[in-house]
C-alpha cells in the first residue's frame, strides 16, 4: 500500500474501478461541493477534484477535496504546475496529505491563455512528469525536491497522471505514459474516449511497453449532454476525438440526454473488454446526476465497500452538526422544490388554456381564409368561362373571315424582280408551275384547317389559280368599272412591245374577283375542263392568246365536246392572228429609232422628251456594259428625235471613242422607277432621273395600279441589259416606293493600271510608299470569320501598297424593336423587327450581310433600361442564329455596358465576338473581360486624334494587343460633320502609315448607319424638292460610307440594305 486510499484498495483488489469528477465552484460556496459529492457518493470509488480547470479561477482543489472527504467521498486531488512553483506545490502537498487526502493527480495544467486570466504569468516551474518525480520523492524518499529530508510525516499519496491517447504524435503517447509511470504514477486516467478503436490501438502499444502492469489504467468517458456539446468538443477541445458515429447517434436521437448516457454506457462496456483497462473515469461535466445512472446501466453499481475514507478535521460534534445542517438543507430544498412544482403546475395549466384559445382563433382564421379562397376561385372560374366564350367567338369570326376572304394565302404580289414574262402567252414556266404546286399544298392545308368541303375547296382553288394567272401570266383584266382604262389590246391596236409585266391588282379588285369563282360549280361538267376553259378565257381577255389557245386545247383534250372550250379556242386563234399582224409595224418602228405613237391623252411633247431620255439612258447603259455599238445605235435614236440634245451627243461621241461613261457613278445610284404618270408635275423629277435610268433597266418598273395609263404599257420589250461582268447581287426588296431593287451594278473595272496611265512619268514622282502598317484584326471565328485592316498603303491606293482585306459592311441589328426608324428602313425587316435573331438571320441570308452589329440599345438606363441578363439573352440568341462575325455594341453608358457586356460574355463564352464601345471610363473592366476571352474590342473616343491614341495606349497597357482593337473615332454623317470626321480619320491614318505612330495603327470601325438615319433628312417624307424619301436616305448613307471608306474605314456599320450593297459595290469596284 502506498497511501491506503479507497481507490488504491479497489484497484489492488482487482475490481473494475469507477472514478467520478467534481468541479469546485467559482465561489466560496461549499454547499455546492457537498451537493455534488452527495450525488456521486456510493456510485464511484473516488472523485477527482479539479484544479482551476481550463485556467479559470475556482475554489482550490485542496479545499473542495476536503469538503468532499467530509461528505464521505474520497477525493483525488488534482494539482497543476501552472500556478505554483515547487515551493508552493510542496507546501500544499504536505497540507493535503495531513488533512486526509490520499490521492494526487499530477498535471501540467491547461495554458493560462484559455482561462479568465490570460494575462497571468504561467509558472511552469516543472512539468507533470517532474511533479510526479517530486511527489514520489517526498513520499518514498522522504525528501523535498531540493533533496532535503522531510523530518516527520511524509505525504502518503496514491499518485495519478493523465494520458491523452488521441494527441500527437500518436506513437509517442504510450512512451510518454511510460515516462510518467516511471516518474511515479500509480494510476492513469485518460482523456475522454469516443474513438474506442484508436484507444484500443493505444492500449496495445501500452501493453507492448508493459506499462499496464506497472500502473492502473482508467479509461476516461463522458456522456455527451447534447449534440451541441459533442460538436463543441470535437471542434474546440484539442486532442479530443469525437467520432461521427457519436454525432449521428445524438442527432438522430429524440432524447439527446438519454442517448448521451447510452453512448457513455456503450463505451464503458467496450473499454472494459480491452486488456489493461482497470477501470473507468466518468467525467459528467456539470451533469453529476447522470453518473449514478451510467454506473447502473454499465452494471457497475455494485461498488466495493469504501475503505480508508477518513476525514481528519471532522470531530464527532462537527459530524453531528454537519448532519443537522444537511437535514435542514434538505428540508428547505424539499420545500422549495414543492413550491416550485406547484407554481410550475399552475403555470402549465394556464399555458394549456391560453394555447387552447390560440388554436381556436387560428382555426377560425383558417376557416375564413378557406372561405375567401373559395369565393375567389369561383370568381376566377366565371372569368375563365367568359374568356373561353370570347375566344370561341373570336375563333368563329376568324373562320368566317377566312372563308369569306381567302386571299391571305395568296402569294404576295411579286416584286419587280420577277422575270419578265415572255411576249406571247405560252405554257406555264417551271417557276409558275412550282408556285402553283405550293399554292395547292397551302390550300390543302387551309382546307383542313377551315373544314371546307370539296366543292367549296375546289372553288377556292380555282379562283386562286385564276388570280395567279392574272398576276403573273397576263395584264390585269378590268373587272370593276371604277378601274381606269384597260390596257387590253384590241386586235386592231398596235402592240408596242409585248405584254408588260404588271404590278399586282389593287386589293379591292382582288376582293371583287373573289366572289365570282366562289360560286358553286355545276357538277355536270368535268371540273378540269371548267377550270381550263376559265383559264383560257382569262388568258384571252388579258391578251395572252397563246396561253388561251393552249388552255382551250387542253380542255378539249379532256372533253372534245365542250362547247365553251371550242368557242373559246376559235376566238383565241382569231385574236392571235390579228395581234400578230398588228405587232409587226410597231417593232419595225422602234428598230428604226422612231418615236412610238403617243398614247391617247398624253402630251405629245412630253412623250417625245420621254423617249429621248430613254434612248440616251439605254445608250449609257450599253456603253457602261461595254457594248459600244448598241450605245451608238441608241444615242443616234435619241438624236434623231432631238438633234440638239447635248447628252445624247456627248454620249455618242464617247461611245464612238469607246471612252465609257464620263461620270462613273461611284456609289451607284439606287434604281428608280422609270415609269411615272405623265403628269406635268412629275416632269421636273424626270430630269434628275435621267442619269440614273441606266439602272432602271435592270429593275423592271413598278406600276401604281391605281393609275395605269396607256403609257405604262410602253417599252419593256427590250431584251434585258447584257449580263454584267461580275455576278450581280440579286436581292429582292419588299414592295414599296423609292428603292425598287436592292441589286447594284458593279463598277467597271477595266481601268488600265496606273503605271500604264502614267505613261513616261517615273514612278517615284507619283508613288510614295508608307513605312507603317495597319494592324490586321480578326473578327469572328469559323468559316465566316474575316480580318480587317492590314493595309500598307492609304485606302485603295493599291498602286502603292497592299490592301489585303477588303473593308466590310456590318448590318446593324437592334436588340429591341426600333422606335424611331423611318418606314423606308423598317420595311425591309418588318417581318423580324421584334426578333433580333431572325433579323440578323435575314440580314445574312437575304441581304448578304458579312457581319452583324448588335446594338444593345434597350439597356440604356435613360431608355428601356433592360437588365444585363435580358440583353445577354438576346445577344446569345443572335450569336446562335448567325455564323458571321458579331459586334456587340452597348448602349454607350460606360457603367451599364460593363455590366451588360460582362453578362453577355459570360453567356456566349468562347464564341468570338467583338465588344464595344470601350471608353476611358470602362476600358479596364471591359478590356480585362475581352482579354480573358481573346475578343477584339472597339475603342471608342470622342472625335480626336490624341484621345484615340490615348485610349489605345491605355488598352495596350492593360494588356490588350493592338491587333485586337478597332478604333471608333466617332463619326458624323454627311451634312453632320462628315468633313471633320474625314479629316480626323485621315490624320490618324497618315500618322499610322507615314509617321510610325503604331499606337494609331488599329483599323477603324465606322458606326455610320445610326448617324445617318437619325438625321432629319432621312425622316422627312418625299416631296418635290427633296425627292423620294427612301432614295434620299439610301444616298446619304451610301455617300457617308463611301467618304469614310476613302478615309480609311474598314468596318462600316450600316442599316439600309441598298446602301450596304452600294458600299460593297464601291469596295468591289475599287479593289
Amino acid at each position: 500500500m502506498k497511501a491506503g486510499s479507497n481507490l488504491e484498495n479497489v484497484l489492488r483488489s482487482g475490481a473494475f474501478a469507477v472514478t467520478g469528477e467534481l468541479g469546485p465552484p467559482k465561489s466560496g460556496d461549499l454547499g455546492l461541493v457537498r451537493k455534488k459529492a452527495r450525488i456521486l457518493k456510493g456510485h464511484v470509488d473516488a472523485v477527482n477534484i479539479t484544479d482551476c480547470q481550463t485556467a479559470i479561477v475556482r475554489m482550490s482543489s485542496l479545499t473542495a477535496g476536503l469538503a468532499a472527504l467530509a461528505e464521505g467521498v474520497e477525493p483525488v486531488m488534482q494539482m497543476t504546475c501552472r500556478d505554483r512553483n515547487r515551493i508552493g506545490m510542496q507546501a500544499d502537498i504536505l497540507g493535503a496529505a495531513a488533512l486526509g487526502i490520499k490521492n494526487l493527480l499530477c498535471l501540467t495544467g491547461d495554458h493560462q491563455k484559455f482561462g479568465n486570466h490570460p494575462q497571468s504569468k504561467g509558472v511552469f516551474d516543472m512539468d507533470s512528469i517532474q511533479l510526479l518525480q517530486m511527489v514520489r520523492g517526498m513520499r518514498d524518499d522522504r525528501a523535498f525536491q531540493c533533496g532535503e529530508e522531510i523530518k516527520g510525516n511524509e505525504p502518503r499519496l496514491f499518485l495519478g497522471c493523465a494520458a491523452n491517447p488521441f494527441a500527437d504524435p500518436f506513437e509517442f503517447r504510450p512512451v510518454r505514459l511510460a515516462k510518467k509511470v516511471s516518474a511515479g504514477a500509480d494510476f492513469v486516467q485518460t482523456q475522454i474516449i469516443y474513438n474506442v478503436e484508436k484507444f484500443a490501438r493505444f492500449m496495445e502499444m501500452v501493453r507492448d511497453l508493459g506499462v499496464h502492469e506497472k500502473c492502473y489504467i482508467l479509461a476516461g468517458v463522458t456522456p455527451p449532454k447534447s449534440l451541441g456539446m459533442a460538436r463543441y468538443m470535437k471542434k474546440f477541445v484539442p486532442g479530443l476525438d469525437v467520432t461521427d458515429d457519436v454525432l449521428s447517434r445524438l442527432s438522430d436521437a429524440s432524447d439527446q440526454r438519454e442517448e448521451g448516457i447510452n453512448i457513455c454506457v456503450d463505451i464503458i462496456k467496450q473499454v472494459q473488454d480491452i486488456p489493461g483497462v482497470a477501470g473507468v473515469h466518468v467525467m459528467a461535466i456539470e451533469w453529476e446526476e447522470a453518473v449514478p445512472e451510467i454506473v447502473k446501466r454499465a452494471g457497475l453499481s455494485n461498488r466495493p465497500d469504501p475503505k480508508g475514507i477518513e476525514p481528519v478535521l471532522s470531530s464527532s460534534q462537527s459530524i453531528e452538526k454537519a448532519v443537522e445542517d444537511a437535514r435542514k438543507e434538505i428540508r428547505i430544498e424539499l420545500e422549495e422544490e414543492l413550491e416550485r412544482a406547484k407554481t410550475e403546475a399552475q403555470a402549465s395549466r394556464e399555458l394549456v388554456i391560453k394555447e387552447k384559445e390560440k388554436i381556436a382563433s387560428e382555426i377560425s382564421d383558417l376557416k375564413k381564409q378557406v372561405e375567401e379562397a373559395r369565393t375567389m376561385a369561383s370568381r376566377k372560374e366565371a372569368e375563365v368561362q367568359k374568356l373561353t366564350a370570347e375566344i370561341e367567338m373570336a375563333k368563329k369570326e376568324l373562320e368566317a373571315k377566312q372563308a369569306a376572304a381567302p386571299s391571305a394565302p395568296v402569294p404576295e404580289p411579286q416584286p419587280p424582280a420577277a422575270p419578265p414574262v415572255p411576249g406571247p402567252a405560252g405554257p406555264l414556266t417551271g417557276r409558275e408551275q412550282r408556285v402553283l404546286e405550293s399554292l395547292n399544298l397551302g390550300l390543302e392545308a387551309l382546307k383542313t384547317v377551315l373544314g371546307l368541303d370539296d366543292t367549296q375547296f375546289e372553288a377556292l382553288r380555282r379562283f386562286l389559280e385564276a388570280e395567279f394567272m392574272l398576276q403573273f401570266g397576263q395584264a390585269p383584266v378590268p373587272v370593276t368599272p371604277s378601274a381606269p382604262a384597260p390596257p387590253a389590246p384590241g386586235p386592231a391596236e398596235p402592240q408596242p412591245a409585248g405584254p408588260v409585266p404588271e404590278a399586282a391588282p389593287a386589293p379591292p379588285e382582288a376582293e371583287a374577283l373573289v366572289e365570282e369563282p366562289v360560286k358553286p360549280e355545276k357538277p355536270a361538267r368535268n371540273k378540269e375542263v371548267v377550270n381550263l376553259v376559265a383559264k383560257g378565257n382569262l388568258a384571252l381577255h388579258s391578251g395572252d392568246y397563246n396561253g388561251a389557245i393552249e388552255a382551250f386545247e387542253q380542255a378539249l383534250g379532256i372533253d372534245p365536246e365542250d362547247a365553251k372550250a371550242k368557242a373559246g379556242l376559235a376566238e383565241a386563234k382569231a385574236a392571235l392572228e390579228k395581234a400578230i399582224s398588228a405587232v409587226q409595224p410597231s417593232e419595225s418602228e422602234e428598230s428604226e429609232g422612231l418615236l412610238p405613237p403617243c398614247p391617247e391623252g398624253v402630251d405629245e411633247t412630253w412623250w417625245k422628251e420621254k423617249w429621248i431620255i430613254r434612248y440616251t439612258a439605254r445608250g449609257n447603259v450599253a456603253m457602261m456594259n461595254g457594248d459600244y455599238e448598241k450605245a451608238v445605235v441608241e444615242f443616234e435614236k435619241a438624236l434623231s428625235l432631238d438633234p440638239e440634245n447635248g447628252k445624247a451627243k456627248d454620249g455618242l461621241n464617247r461611245a464612238k471613242n469607246k471612252e465609257g461613261i464620263r461620270i462613273p457613278e461611284a456609289a451607284g445610284a439606287p434604281s428608280v422607277e422609270e415609269e411615272k404618270t405623265p403628269e406635268p408635275a412629275a416632269a421636273p423629277a424626270e430630269e434628275e432621273e435621267e442619269e440614273k435610268e441606266e439602272e432602271a433597266e435592270a429593275a423592271p418598273a413598278e406600276e401604281k395600279p391605281a393609275k395605269p395609263e396607256k403609257a405604262a404599257e410602253e417599252e419593256k420589250k427590250e431584251k434585258p441589259a447584257p449580263e454584267p461582268k461580275a455576278p450581280k447581287v440579286e436581292i429582292s426588296a419588299p414592295a414599296g416606293e423609292g428603292v425598287s431593287d436592292l441589286s447594284v451594278t458593279p463598277l467597271a473595272k477595266d481601268e488600265p493600271p496606273l503605271s500604264e496611265r502614267a505613261g513616261d512619268i517615273p514612278e517615284d514622282v507619283y508613288m510614295e510608299s508608307c513605312s507603317g502598317m495597319i494592324q490586321s484584326v480578326m473578327l469572328g471565328d469559323g468559316e465566316n470569320a474575316f480580318s480587317v485592316g492590314g493595309e500598307t498603303a492609304l485606302p485603295f491606293y493599291n498602286f502603292e501598297g497592299d490592301m489585303p482585306n477588303p473593308p466590310r459592311v456590318a448590318f446593324e441589328v437592334l436588340d429591341s424593336e426600333p422606335e424611331e426608324w423611318p418606314d423606308v428602313l423598317t420595311k425591309y425587316f418588318s417581318d423580324c423587327l421584334s426578333d433580333p435573331a431572325e433579323w440578323a438571320r435575314k440580314c445574312v441570308e437575304q441581304y448578304n450581310a458579312k457581319s452583324i452589329c448588335l446594338s444593345l440599345v434597350s439597356t440604356d438606363p435613360n431608355g428601356a433600361d433592360a437588365s444585363p441578363a435580358e440583353a445577354a439573352e438576346v445577344a446569345e440568341r443572335v450569336v446562335e442564329a448567325v455564323d458571321v462575325p458579331i459586334i456587340l455594341w452597348g448602349c454607350g453608358n460606360a457603367e451599364k455596358d460593363t455590366e451588360t457586356l460582362r453578362e453577355v460574355t459570360g453567356r456566349i463564352g468562347d464564341k468570338k465576338v467583338c465588344l464595344g464601345p470601350l471608353s476611358d471610363a470602362n476600358y479596364r473592366t471591359l478590356g480585362a473581360t475581352a482579354m480573358a476571352f481573346q475578343y477584339p474590342v472597339v475603342a471608342s473616343t470622342p472625335i480626336d486624334v490624341n484621345l484615340a491614341k490615348q485610349l489605345n495606349i491605355l488598352l495596350e497597357n492593360l494588356g490588350v494587343h493592338l491587333d485586337h482593337i478597332l478604333m471608333d473615332p466617332s463619326i458624323g454623317a454627311v451634312g453632320y460633320g462628315l468633313e471633320y470626321t474625314y479629316s480626323v480619320m485621315e490624320r490618324i491614318r497618315l500618322a499610322a502609315l507615314t509617321q510610325q505612330d503604331d499606337k494609331l495603327s488599329c483599323p477603324f470601325i465606322v458606326n455610320l448607319g445610326r448617324e445617318v438615319w437619325k438625321a432629319k433628312e432621312t425622316r422627312l417624307p418625299s416631296d418635290g424638292m427633296l425627292g423620294d424619301q427612301e432614295r434620299r436616305g439610301v444616298l446619304m448613307e451610301a455617300i457617308t460610307a463611301s467618304a469614310l471608306l476613302l478615309a480609311g474605314g474598314e468596318l462600316m456599320v450600316m442599316r439600309h440594305p441598298k446602301a450596304a450593297a452600294l458600299a460593297d459595290a464601291l469596295v468591289e469596284g475599287m479593289l
Partner: protein, 126 residues
C-alpha cells in the same frame, strides 16, 4: 493644401501647366520625383506637418515601373504612413497611392481631384 508626389515617368508635364489649365484644383501642389521609390515616409509625414491636408503619390503601374520596383516601394511606404496617421487618430485615407501609365496625365488629375474631394468631404461635417 494638397500635396502630390509624382514620378517623372508618369507625369510628363510641368505641374504648373496642369494648374494653369485648370485641370487640378488651385491648392494642389505637385512635386515631381525621379522615381516614387525615392519617396520616404518622413517626406509624406512632413507634408502634413507643413500644412498639407492630404497627400497623394502617383507612381508607375506596379508591373510597369520604370525602375522595376519603385512604385511598389512607394506603395509600401504610403501604407506605413497610413498606419502612422491611424496611430495619430488621423484618417488614413488622407494619404493614398495611385498608379498611372507612362505619360498619362489623366490619373494624376484624377488623383488630385479625388483627394481634394476627400478633403472637402471631411471638412464639411466638422
Amino acid at each position: 493644401m494638397i500635396k502630390g508626389f509624382c514620378c517623372n515617368y508618369t507625369l510628363s508635364v510641368e505641374p504648373e501647366a496642369l494648374r494653369s489649365e485648370g485641370l487640378i484644383p488651385e491648392d494642389v501642389e505637385i512635386e515631381r520625383l525621379p522615381c516614387t521609390g525615392r519617396l520616404e515616409v518622413p517626406e509624406i509625414l512632413d507634408s502634413f506637418s507643413e500644412g498639407a491636408e492630404a497627400v497623394f503619390v502617383v507612381g508607375c503601374q506596379l508591373d510597369k515601373c520604370h525602375n522595376l520596383s519603385g512604385s511598389r516601394r512607394a506603395s509600401k511606404r504610403v501604407g506605413q504612413a497610413r498606419k502612422i496617421l491611424e496611430e495619430l487618430d488621423m484618417d488614413p485615407a488622407l494619404v493614398e497611392m495611385f498608379y498611372a501609365g507612362r505619360g498619362e496625365t489623366e490619373p494624376v488629375v484624377e488623383a488630385a481631384r479625388l483627394m481634394a474631394a476627400r478633403v472637402s468631404e471631411q471638412d464639411q461635417p466638422g
